[in-house]
Amino acid sequence: MGLDIKNYWVLNIFGFEVWITETIVNTWIIMLILIILAIIVRVKLRSFKDIPTGLQNIIEAAIEFFDNFATGTLGEKLSYITPWYFMVFAFILSSSLFSVFGLRAPTADFATTLTLALASFVLMLFMGFKHQKGRYLKTFFEPHPIFFPLNLIGELAKPVSLSFRLFGNMLSGTIILTLYYSLTPIFVQIGIPSLLHAVFDVVFGALQTYIFVIISLMYVRNAADQ
């Protein structure tokens, strides 16, 4: 566990250098885990009954919790984009839980968080144009056309603040744990760091996941509301 992102190997594709870094490999591992989980659930879906037991209980609780949370924030009409945000929620939460095992979380890299924030931003624009059509463009010129540059900067600041918030929180946890591991002698590195991991990875990770998703949902609702 270090501050700088390790680079495993460099691919050369049509003259472009593609760097396969620690972040990308860790993202692939998380994707693999989530896909395998999804396939298991899909196979088990055939044997689901009206009265849930065991695995079905856990899955239904998770889906219901997220459905209620997203529908409460978005409203009934826009709730069809909930699955995308469930994926974002699962990915960010599992990547912040990933650093419990001493590996680097993918969200502690600015590239990952900027990608997620830009995806939210594009979705926000798309939903705005889909539900409000031409009127969404008009909101940039309100209350007077002279405010257009100000509104534009306000819109462009959204993905920046969204990505920096998640990145800064995850990176600060990584820095504090790296400092702890590199400054202390070996006999205090057993057992005691679990407390730090519990605070910086589990609690802050879950909180930041919740905040990332709820703020993206609020942006989408504000853009698409009439």
């Binding site: 501050l3 603040s161 920096f164 918030r165 990145f167 800064g168 929180n169 990176l171 600060s172 909180l207 930041q208 919740y210 905040i211 709820i214 703020i215 609020m218």
Partner: protein, 89 residues
């Protein structure tokens, strides 16, 4: 060489000053928490919606602290001024 040392020292001091904005960020977050707890005590039936709004407010207030941290990190690990100076020398 002395100029380079001066620039590096200045970068470290400015990184430390950047982290001082945690003072005001913490003050603002404490105010949000205090108000939220007060209103939750007054109206326990509205506690759930107050709690979720409080978390959003805390995240918004935290943003400025995070920006300070990022500027400090850029000063320490990715300082653009040192490269300019090295090219100049």
């Amino acid at each position: 060489m002395e100029t380079l040392g001066l620039v590096i020292a200045a970068a470290h001091i400015s990184a430390a000053i950047c982290l001082l904005n945690g003072l005001l960020t913490t003050f603002g977050q404490a105010k949000i928490c205090a108000q939220a707890i007060e209103s939750m005590a007054r109206q326990p039936e509205a506690a759930d919606s107050i709690r979720s709004t409080m978390f959003i407010g805390l995240a918004m207030a935290e943003t400025s602290g995070i920006y300070g941290l990022l500027i400090a990190i850029i000063m320490l690990f990715a300082n653009p001024l040192i490269n300019i100076l090295l090219n100049y020398i």
